[in-house]
């Protein structure tokens, strides 16, 4: 789409809904940007000369004779190395009082990576949190969300992960983030001296919800620029994808689309996949890793948003408050990292996969014992040992406040095995038993 030399102004709006308006115009391109009474808008439907525009800040107060100007280009982001250390709004305009970015304009929401050109992710991201590194190892090029209730400390965990991950560039996309959380991230990044590798696109709760729809594409366009052109290891944090999906459903609703499950648009899967699949390991060494947050309502993962997300992402992480130890832990049962297979036991110590599984199995035995106890039954000796093990395992390995390296995690696990169980009960491959068993 070429930018036009002069811009024709239309002043006759035929139709206005809360999020869209319709105007008659010629030569308009699909997905082109426009200004409606000075507000950013995008073409979402063309029917001969009737053009429907999605007005990002909403249509409150727009009169039928408002000026509509078509900009002749899809939404773009100006990319340059100067993006680093800067804070932007959903349109890619600075909100930190800094100068405008000079550089090349890139269309956002560009084409997908040819699957045969991708490299297999193989570099693990060490976070120091055993609930992640030991049980649900994350690798570069992966996409994984936290499934969390709004009251859980997911922002703190994400922030820790980001700062420990040794990424070249960290891009934070805020969608409906509270201003307090936004300031929390800013302060944390500042205190860690990491501001020079942070880029932030922020839509807070104070901003119009439909604007959020631009945030992931802005983040990922910047991410692709650094990962492909600068071969950088890019980490993208998206919080909160549930609010993004809510914005999708608002627009879909205004356009009279038939809703599918949970009032979400029928295209929700594809819409989310377009974002998450931007995570990739590129052939030249750059990578995009996405860590997102999908807030749940009352822990319900059958809702369309977490459900579709789960089918797209490579695993999910759950936080849970363990009342036995009084700390938040990464839930070992429901959490999963699908790509851990690529690195555990290969990039980490050989006993990693079996130790990890044995821990979770024994922890499950403890959970069963706990149910027994709650139902008023007597516990066997094995049950009691399992419960003791679970408590220590939870405190020393699952809690989110720990920060140790991978070998220490494995050694801790072996120490707990030896302390509470017999070899038969742990049931790990004989060779490994002989090498690592601690009486």
């Amino acid at each position: 789409m070429k930018a036009r030399a002069f811009q024709k102004i239309y002043t006759h709006i035929e139709n206005i809904t809360k999020a869209t308006c319709t105007v008659r115009a010629d030569g308009v391109h699909n997905e082109e940007m426009a200004l409606v009474a000075g507000r950013p808008a995008q073409v979402v439907k063309i029917d001969r000369d009737r053009i429907t525009l999605q007005v990002f800040p909403g249509t409150q107060g727009i009169p039928t004779d408002a000026e509509v100007v078509f900009l002749g280009r899809p939404p773009v982001l100006t990319v340059s190395p100067d993006l680093k250390g800067r804070f932007f709004n959903a349109y890619g305009a600075p909100i930190d009082n800094g100068p405008a970015i000079e550089g090349e304009e890139r269309e956002i929401g560009g084409p997908s990576v040819n699957p045969v050109r991708r490299k297999q992710p193989s570099e693990l991201i060490a976070t120091g949190i055993a609930g992640i590194d030991l049980n649900n190892t994350i690798v570069t090029g992966q996409k994984i969300p936290f499934f969390a209730d709004p009251d859980q400390p997911f922002n703190q965990v994400m922030c820790n992960v980001a700062l420990r991950a040794r990424a070249d560039v960290i891009i934070l996309g805020g969608m409906g983030m509270s201003n307090d959380d936004y300031l929390y991230y800013r302060t944390m990044f500042e205190n860690a001296g990491a501001l020079d590798r942070i880029i932030c696109f922020m839509n807070t709760t104070e901003d119009p919800p439909v604007e959020r729809l631009l945030v992931p594409d802005m983040c990922l366009t910047a991410a692709e620029y650094f990962a492909v052109e600068h071969r950088a290891k890019v980490l993208v944090l998206l919080s909160d994808m549930t609010l993004y999906a809510d914005a999708l459903s608002i627009v879909s609703n205004r356009m009279d689309r038939i809703p599918s499950k949970d009032s979400m648009p029928g295209s929700l899967y594809s819409d989310l996949a377009k974002i998450y699949e931007k995570a990739a390991q590129f052939p030249d060494g750059g990578s995009i890793t996405i860590i997102a947050v999908t807030t749940l309502s009352g822990g319900d993962i059958t809702h369309a948003i977490p459900d579709n997300t789960g089918y797209i992402t490579e695993g999910q992480l759950y936080l849970r408050r363990d009342t036995d130890i009084g700390k938040v832990i990464i839930d070992p049962f429901r959490s999963l990292s699908r790509l851990k297979q690529l690195v555990i036991g290969k990039k980490t110590r050989e006993d990693h996969p079996q130790v990890m599984n044995a821990c979770v199995r024994l922890y499950a035995d403890a959970a069963a014992a706990k149910t027994k106890l709650e139902n008023g039954f007597d516990l066997s000796d094995y049950d009691k040992r399992a419960l003791e093990f679970a408590r220590e395992y939870s405190r020393e390995l699952l809690a989110i406040d720990i920060n140790i390296d991978n070998d220490t995690m494995l050694d801790t696990a072996w120490r707990l095995f030896g302390k509470y169980f017999t070899r038969d009960e742990v049931a790990i491959k004989q060779e490994l038993m002989e090498r690592y068993w601690k009486e």
Partner: protein, 590 residues
């Protein structure tokens, strides 16, 4: 003169086109956007207004874009050279696409037109031929790739010219056929075929009766899949659908695997790209990729091409079936295809069925599954397509429309259970909810009697009964408490656990355990049945648990050893000793 048109409306990937001539339903057209041609398929016609789904992003399209219609439906090119290829849903060769990103409007050839093939004729001048008859063959990897009379050839023809043994390109003329009216037709080594039409030139479709070994014990033993059969794997995310499908694709006893990655994660496909060229195919001694064709339309690629991808995969499978080959078609996931249908139906503002899916979803799915099957060819040989699809039920709810529709169409059902996945019991195939209708077929029972051992299906049923009784015993124990149930309940429960841990659970990431040949499965089944039919003496329930945990541990170690190796034998002997120590009073089970 082909029909032309102009774009008059655009919503996402649905465009409305005003046309100047005749148009067919499902006809392919190209939209011209400043010289870039975007492929689209007609999905609805209303007077001179035509609705088409575009297989690409529609960004930048405008009212007035020129459209050219092609006069044919979505087709694939069939011929030697498809093996080991990775195609997108429209059969573009992904390796030939330029650049790291997929540029829209770039289409690449499915077959290499410059490659030369060693052709050997199978017919002579004067021979009578029909559609799908073999007229020659070329070696394609390890397959004797048959060159066939085009499947659309009407009636009987006579060969008037056939190329002698030699090397030819796929587009070279290799034969001329003349029909009764004297019309000549030149044949090459390739042909085109519309993907939504089944390739039919076979004599008859038979009931499946032969097992298709997958190496996955939970399938082969309890709910076997047959050559030419259909099955599906529903399961919530995180239950290991894809890992299971990959395990099947690596170990299944098929001549050719067509893998359709339909709307799923790109990194999973990358895993295949990376692993299959490295892994050995135990059957041929070659690499796995040499018996694999990948059709890949990941979730971020255009949604209309996602729908096409399953048909493209099926058509390629049908083509090879006509050569008398045993083809296994795997599609992951058919739910994404159904969702693609839903998105289009939605944009066309059709009245929705359940969960906003189109009303004819059940019929579409049933028709697709019906294209699989075991067929007898005209020349007496047989070929088969075994089709296993995964389903990703929304919210893990097996009552949702896609699962329901698939259940009506597929004969084997491999239910993946969240509870099993949570306790890391992989593969998470639920032994009680899953079924294979084939176990009811008399021809299957006879086949197992002859090829494994007499009374095999009876043994399988005993295993199933014991698993069910184990589950019931566990429920009782959970309700009443360890102390309040008879000791037999504990024994019944733990015997079911032995079956579960030894036969059902399998380590897909262990070199030996990943795949179990049928002989070894038979051996282990008999071993486990032996344990389950013996009676052991215990004083209290704690002893029961401890004893069976030891048994299970030995069995697990056995599964990790080379079959019949010295270590395997040692463990077997150890198992016997442990059991004899405990043997005594008590009532035998089963």
């Amino acid at each position: 003169m082909s029909t032309k048109g102009t774009v008059v409306g655009i919503v996402a990937n649905l465009v409305t086109i005003e046309v100047d001539g005749p148009v067919a339903q499902n006809e392919i057209c190209y939209i011209d956007l400043h010289g870039t041609k975007l492929m689209a398929e007609v999905i609805k016609i209303a007077g001179t207004q035509v609705y088409a789904q575009v297989f690409e992003s529609t960004r930048g399209l405008y009212t007035g874009c020129a459209v050219a219609f092609t006069g044919h439906m979505l087709e694939v090119t069939l011929g030697p050279g498809m093996l080991s290829k990775s195609y997108d849903g429209l059969q573009n060769d992904l390796y030939l696409m330029s650049g790291v990103f997929l540029n829209r409007g770039e289409y690449t050839a499915a077959l290499d037109s410059s490659a030369r093939w060693e052709f050997t004729p199978l017919v002579e001048v004067g021979d009578e031929v029909r559609a799908a008859d073999w007229i020659g063959e070329v070696p394609e990897g390890w397959i004797r790739h048959k060159i066939m009379v085009p499947f659309d050839y009407p009636g009987i023809g006579r060969i008037t010219s056939i190329a002698p043994k030699g090397t030819y390109r796929v587009t070279d003329r290799i034969a001329v056929v003349v029909d009764a009216e004297g019309n000549e037709r030149e044949l090459t080594m390739s042909m085109r075929w519309p993907v939504k039409v089944e390739i039919k030139g076979y004599a008859s479709k038979l009931r499946p009766f032969k097992i298709l070994e997958t190496g996955v014990r939970a399938i082969d033993i309890l709910n076997p899949m047959m050559e030419g059969g259909t099955g599906f794997i529903p399961g919530p995310f995180g239950c290991g659908k894809t890992v299971l499908q990959h395990a099947i694709s690596k170990n299944a006893e098929a001549d050719l695997i067509v893998l359709v990655a339909c709307g799923e994660r790109a990194n999973e496909v990358v895993e295949i790209f990376v692993e299959f060229p490295e892994l050995d195919d135990p059957r041929t001694g070659r690499k796995l990729i040499e018996r694999t064709i990948i059709v890949c339309n990941t979730s971020n690629m255009p949604v209309a091409a996602r729908e096409a991808s399953v048909y493209t995969g099926m058509t390629i499978a049908e083509y090879y079936r006509m050569m008398g080959l045993k083809v296994l078609l795997l599609a992951d996931s058919t739910s994404r295809w159904a969702q693609a249908l839903r998105e289009m139906s939605n944009r066309m503002e059709e009245l929705p069925g359940p969960d906003a899916f189109p009303m004819d979803l059940t019929a579409i799915i049933a028709n697709f599954y019906a294209r699989a099957g075991f067929v007898q060819l005209n020349n007496g040989q047989s070929g088969s397509i075994t089709f296993i699809g995964t389903v990703s039920p929304a919210g893990g709810n097996l009552k949702e429309p896609v699962t329901e529709a698939t259940k009506k169409a597929a004969r084997a059902f491999y239910a993946l259970s969240q509870a099993r996945a949570d306790s890391k019991r992989y593969p998470a195939i639920d032994p009680i909810d899953s079924y294979s209708k084939y176990l009811e077929y008399q021809e299957v029972v006879d086949y197992f009697d002859a090829t494994i051992e007499p009374g095999w299906v009876g043994k399988v049923m005993r295993l199933k009964d014991m698993l069910l009784r184990g589950k019931e015993a566990r429920d009782q124990i959970n309700i009443l408490g360890d102390d309040s149930v008879p000791l037999e309940y504990h024994i019944t429960y733990h015997k079911a656990e032995v079956i579960d841990f030894t036969l059902l659970q399998q380590d897909a990431f262990d070199a030996i355990d990943a795949s179990t040949p049928i002989k070894r499965q038979q051996y282990m089944v008999n071993k486990v049945l032996d344990v389950c039919s013996r009676s052991f003496a215990f004083d209290n329930f704690e002893e029961v648990g401890a004893f069976f945990r030891r048994i299970i541990n030995i069995f697990r170690q056995m599964n990790y050893q080379e079959f019949m190796s010295e270590r395997f034998r040692q463990l077997e002997a150890q198992l016997e000793t442990v059991m004899q120590e405990r043997e005594g009073r008590g009532v035998p089970e089963g």
